[in-house]
Symmetry: C2
Subunit: 148 residues, 2 copies
């Protein structure tokens, strides 16, 4: 490993109650660099490209641990058969997914929060959260569609 343990992550991982290992650090670093959700395989592959070799199952276990300790969030994307993860530090987000090129655009504004309260009152459910994904075609792909 090029530089050993990283101070910044050390505090963040430790604060979350996680034992510090090089693998967790590398995965966590990689996750934080991303601006859109990634699959477990994406992270594994990219680390491999950087000569950082670790087992796929370790990446799975690290992401699971990060999620359990609130540092990562698992995202479900329709028609994609693998799980996506994102760093929770980016805040509450929703995504607009292009059905053509699979590009993912993140959306900061959430139209559901107010609705949750209303719904909770009506159903007596305690609402813990929600997932909202929007699907469509990005400007480039819709231009291509028009041509054909």
């Amino acid at each position: 490993m090029a530089s050993g343990l990283n101070k910044k992550n050390r505090s963040e991982l430790a604060k979350a109650g996680l034992r510090q290992t090089i693998q967790r650090e590398q995965v966590f670093d990689n996750l934080k660099e991303r601006s859109t959700p990634v699959t477990v395989g994406d992270i594994h592959k990219e680390l491999f490209g950087k000569q950082i070799h670790m087992d796929l199952s370790t990446v799975y276990r690290v992401l699971e641990a990060l999620e359990k300790h609130g540092l990562a969030r698992r995202i479900v994307i329709e028609n994609e058969n693998s799980a996506y993860y994102e760093y929770t530090g980016c805040g509450h987000r929703h995504y607009l997914v292009c059905l053509g090129c699979k590009k993912i655009v993140s959306i900061e504004k959430c139209p559901v929060k107010a609705y949750e309260k209303d719904l909770s009152k009506k159903t007596d459910f305690i609402i813990e959260g929600h997932s909202l994904m929007l699907y469509g075609y990005c400007p480039e792909c819709s231009r291509k569609l028009r041509k054909t």
Copy 2:
């Protein structure tokens, strides 16, 4: 098969451009009876219980065909590792899923429609649809949680 081909479904399947078979009819009937989304295995199992034996792969293929022809909709539920389907005739719906007992409650009102227009203007995406799932605890489960 007890009663052979069913007139009502015949028109509905045929109108959608699907060849009429006993298997498609049985799966479609079963799907329409449900008030909440079901898994492929659920349908297969229930039909089996009714002495209607067909291969699991057939159920997969039938549901795929129904979806492609607009008669069924595929639903993704977080933390569930299998696909859910529902009859599209029930209209546009959202679901409230209990994290305790996995009960699914359907919601008719959709708070996202208006938001889509606004978002489309801002991003230049052509928005084709969305999925909104809400997660929480139903009254019974939240009562149990309080006790422990």
